[in-house]
């Protein structure tokens, strides 16, 4: 079964064709990186898959289920989780509260109006376990806005993982990180169980080659190459785009 099947996806913003008919399938358990120069349509593709924007044409199928017209939260409930390129957390809440919100969503959200959060010990346990697992227990009571950028990027991942997703979209998980922090996030992603299918945008070619089984290259809204790292490295069009050879 395919985790994700995208067919003929097209989207334009005021005359700029961000996606010009992209077809892409990601097998269950696969780790796929999407690379391409700035403006290639990578982030638009992610927004389309996660439902932040609706495309002008094409279809998106998540685990045999058509999701093209579903709202983002409905897609999330079907097992689609994502991180954001620009850190998107709850800065005024504590680390624990951030994770609790993600855990609550996974528990169905409809947890009543009057019972306090504290009366749901299982949610707390799960949130605390996640923080422990990723070595952030010591920061549980700190406000997210007071964390370092590297820690915030880790929370991005933890929030996405809290709902036990089946397909994880990572939008430049290592953007702006120092080499040491990058290594930490790479290790985090590597350690994820294989049941989680991963589709990631990655600017850093080394990171992409290290984490992904296969790579998709986008350029000007079109898919121009697909394959394992050797195929991509030796692909004439890819080197043309990246090295500027005419």
């Amino acid at each position: 079964m395919n985790a994700l099947a995208v067919r003929d996806l097209a989207k334009s913003f005021g005359g700029v064709q961000a996606l010009a008919g992209v077809t892409l399938t990601v097998a269950q358990g696969e780790r796929r990186a999407v690379i391409g120069p700035n403006g290639a349509g990578k982030t638009t593709l992610f927004h389309a898959i996660s439902g932040t924007i609706f495309t002008s044409s094409g279809s998106i199928v998540l685990f045999d289920r058509e999701i093209t017209r579903l709202a983002p939260y409905e897609r999330a409930r079907l097992g689609l989780a994502r991180t954001f390129q620009i850190t998107n957390l709850f800065p005024g809440l504590t680390v624990l509260e951030n994770v609790l919100l993600a855990v609550c969503a996974a528990a169905g959200g409809g947890l009543g109006l009057l019972r306090p959060m504290a009366a749901h010990p299982r949610l707390f346990e799960k949130a605390e376990r996640l923080l422990e697992e990723w070595g952030l227990s010591a920061s549980a009571r700190r406000l997210v806005r007071h964390l370092s950028y590297g820690e915030q990027r880790q929370i991005e991942l933890i929030l996405a993982l809290a709902g036990s997703p089946r397909l994880l979209l990572l939008d430049e998980p290592t953007a702006g990180l120092s080499p040491a922090e990058t290594a930490q996030v790479v290790a985090m992603v590597r350690s994820l169980p294989r049941e989680i299918t991963i589709l990631m945008i990655e600017h850093d070619m080394d990171v992409a080659f290290e984490l992904a089984d296969s790579i998709t290259v986008l350029h000007q809204g079109l898919l121009i190459a697909e394959g394992d790292r050797e195929t991509i490295r030796s692909h004439p069009k890819v080197s043309e785009i990246y090295l500027g050879v005419e």
């Binding site: 939260y73 989780a81 709850f90 609790l100 609550c104 969503a105 109006l113 959060m117 929030l159 709902g163």
Partner: protein, 314 residues
């Protein structure tokens, strides 16, 4: 923060409120009653402004609709509390449910403008429908409800306790709501709507429910206020009232429940003191707003939090 000092402060506050009638002359007890009613009104708005991050400039709509409903029922049908109060709440809830459908399509300042416009429509109706609402003159001589108790609510002390009981129960309910997973979700929406969507929250539904709940609690405050004043006029629905309650929340500190209650107390007191000396109450209100945004952008509760943080060290 430590739980115990906070509980002690709340307990002390509750005790003071309970024994207040034994120390205050009846005029000031009336003022205290008004403070309690506006504390509830401000807390209801804070559910939107402080917790969900929705700045409504039309919150008087639900307050006023409930007040008119109770006033008309009490005056024209001699309705008892058991009929008038639920009817007032229902009217406020239905109004909020309808306005929410319209206003929640927009965000930020557009949301603010739509809530303002919708409330002003109600104000215009109340102003011009003279045969029903008495127009600008309002509806005077609304009787206070009669309860099967030895103490008539027409007296200031029993009425104070009646308001304290109702507003207190509502405050407890609000405190539970903001501590529930639902309340946490509202804070999440305030911090980042797109992240909440990505996590799987139906953000619109949460906002809508918060909107209706805030309208209901505002309606409850309106019901109490019409009994308190024995009078209702279009001024109840006016944008000035909406702005006043918004300022109460901001002055006290949005995002806490205690803050807006204190803010309400301060504004009611100020208004009372100042309008004895000058007609320019609105100017003073504007000045208060400027001072707060300049020197205490997170309100009085923000100042308290900063002080605590400084004392406990970095």
């Amino acid at each position: 923060m430590n739980i115990r000092p906070r509980l002690a402060a709340l307990g002390a506050g509750a005790l003071v409120l309970l024994v207040l009638p034994y120390f205050l002359p009846s005029y000031f007890l009336g003022l205290a009653t008004k403070m309690l009613i506006f504390a509830l009104f401000a807390m209801s708005l804070d559910l939107l402004l402080g917790y969900t991050g929705l700045a409504s400039l039309g919150h008087a709509a639900y307050f006023g609709v409930a007040a008119y409903t109770v006033g008309l029922l009490a005056l024209k049908a001699n309705a008892s509390l058991w009929l008038a109060l639920p009817a007032g709440l229902l009217a406020a809830g239905v109004t909020a449910a309808f306005f929410g459908l319209l206003a929640l399509r927009a965000r930020g300042s557009y949301f603010l403008m739509i809530t303002l416009a919708l409330a002003q429509v109600l104000w215009a109706i109340a102003f011009s429908w003279r045969s029903m609402t008495g127009g600008d003159d309002g509806l005077p001589n609304i009787p206070r409800p009669e309860l099967p108790l030895p103490w008539p609510l027409a007296d200031s002390t029993p009425f104070y306790y009646f308001v304290l009981l109702v507003a207190g129960a509502a405050a407890v309910l609000l405190a539970r709501i903001v501590r529930s997973p639902f309340g946490y979700a509202l804070r999440g929406i305030r911090e980042s709507e797109s992240r909440m969507l990505a996590l799987g929250y139906n953000v619109w539904r949460y906002k809508y429910l918060a909107f209706v709940l805030a309208g209901l609690f505002a309606g409850l405050a309106g019901c109490l206020y019409v009994y308190y004043n024995r009078f209702v006029s279009p001024e109840y629905l006016h944008v000035v009232r909406s702005a006043e309650v918004l300022l109460m929340v901001i002055l006290g500190g949005a995002g806490t429940l205690v803050g807006p209650a204190i803010g309400a107390g301060v504004i009611v007191l100020l208004e009372n003191v100042i309008s004895a000396h000058t007609q320019r109450w609105l100017m003073v209100l504007g000045a208060v707003y400027v001072v707060v945004t300049l020197f205490a952008p997170r309100g009085l509760m923000g100042l308290v939090q900063d002080y605590k943080q400084r004392r406990s060290g970095p």
